[in-house]
Assembly symmetry: C2
Homo-oligomer: 265 residues x 2
């Protein structure tokens, strides 16, 4: 657990998440952290979401250099700066908090004097789910489809087991220019386990002006509907679609599962 | 997907999450929704987190009457009220958004005129993870341990498959007076699959004044450390603990998995 006590002689690193992108979905706690810091590290498009003052410096870096970025931020904190590491969504979900922990793990003595605070945020799957209805209303999992950080065979096995377990599946990092075929293979893997009618939600830029939410059945789900800004949610066999004329469909997973009635009448 | 267009003749139901409990972790979007509504439904302790004005009425109900509460809220919205349904954390994760969708699903014609909006929030596992380090930094799942809503055999099977898949596991509703033995059985189930040293985080009231975060190895994890306000996170075989003298340990799950190096040096 992290300590609330700030040692006056130590630098500080605060790791925040901006939420899905709309300013009104970023917590006041994260906004206060932004106001209190002087150096900002992160992927450029996430830093662009902050309204920084002239005295606040930004060091943008590519999304694939997470460990190097974590070390740079820790180094500046060690020098006494108040440093903010900026993730999109929640910093603990496929984002910078793990990279910062890893950098400390590799050299704990070097960073012993840095006070670390991690502040949670609204992660993409929650924002997409809210716009679609309640697809994550029952047991679910979050899996990154990037095989830069784990073997593809591990990902396929996880998808199979998650579907067999009846978990709704939220896919992060579904596709990129360097990883064009993985999402199609993931759908094929899931089609072998799940009913063809299971709803698949393509949630792009949820809560932002360029938002696009599409719902298709698994049998017709098309990987071309996803891009790097998309979170894909694949229902379980129990996920349902409610047609609401004039308002767009609701997709939800019931709170109860076969064999238990709960508070049904 | 939900429509942004509010029909002027319709009532409105906004489903919000307060976040983990601290006011500074509730999004400005949810706070604006509170200011715009006149009737508030929810579990009493969650309604207590809101600073309501004298003209704003609250209808508190027991946590086990979710479907009835959803119908009441929809009925009042249909009458033209601006109704707010209040969940703790995120409303889409084991909370009221699914109950509202279910109520509409059971009688879509009755509620066709109600404008529904669901706003995401910071769910408990993200708040606990941030206080512990980054245990959800790699693939993970969220499972409710309540067998009120599904058979216990389904839960046990899900735990086994999730652990075999290498997913970190966040347990919601781990224990209650009516469900005293389930968490102990869940630990036993996981001990048969996972290494004895896997870290288990008991995260109680994360971000609130009465916060308590405890970390134990799976072999010594004691169900008595959990109560209804606790989210339990069980690591995978890859989850690590970094000792930070004077600051409390960091628990994190590395971004990369065995067999893939990522951007390691």
């Amino acid at each position: 657990m992290l300590s609330d006590a700030v040692r006056p002689d130590a630098g500080r690193l605060i790791v925040i998440g901006t939420g899905p992108g709309a300013p009104e979905q970023m917590t006041p706690q994260a906004q206060a952290a932004v106001a209190a810091c002087d150096l900002f590290f992160g992927y450029g498009p996430y830093l662009d979401r902050l309204a920084l003052a002239p005295h606040q410096a930004r060091i943008a870096s590519d999304n694939r250099e997470e460990l190097a970025r974590a070390r740079q931020a820790l180094d500046r904190a060690r020098e006494g700066h108040r440093v903010c590491m900026v993730s999109g969504g929640d910093p603990g979900v496929f984002a910078m908090a793990a990279a910062v922990c890893e950098a400390i793990d590799r050299d704990p003595a070097a960073y012993a004097g840095v006070d670390l605070e991690i502040l949670p945020g609204v992660t993409a799957m929650l924002a997409v789910a809210a716009r679609a209805g309640a697809p994550l209303g029952h047991d679910f999992c979050a899996i990154s489809l990037s095989d830069n950080l784990k073997p593809w065979s591990v990902i396929v096995r996880r998808l199979q087991l998650a579907a067999e377990a009846g978990l709704v599946i939220a896919l992060y990092n579904p596709i990129s220019r360097a990883r064009p075929w993985q999402l199609g293979q993931a759908f094929d893997t899931l089609r072998a386990v799940l009913p063809a009618s299971v709803p698949v939600i393509f949630g792009r830029a949820a809560g932002r002006p360029d938002e696009a939410i599409r719902v298709l059945a698994l049998e017709t789900a098309d990987p071309a509907l996803a891009d790097m800004a998309t979170c894909v949610i694949i229902g379980s066999a129990e996920t349902r679609i409610v047609a609401r004329p004039g308002q767009g469909d609701l997709v939800y997973t019931p709170r109860f599962s076969a064999g238990a009635g709960g508070d049904t009448p």
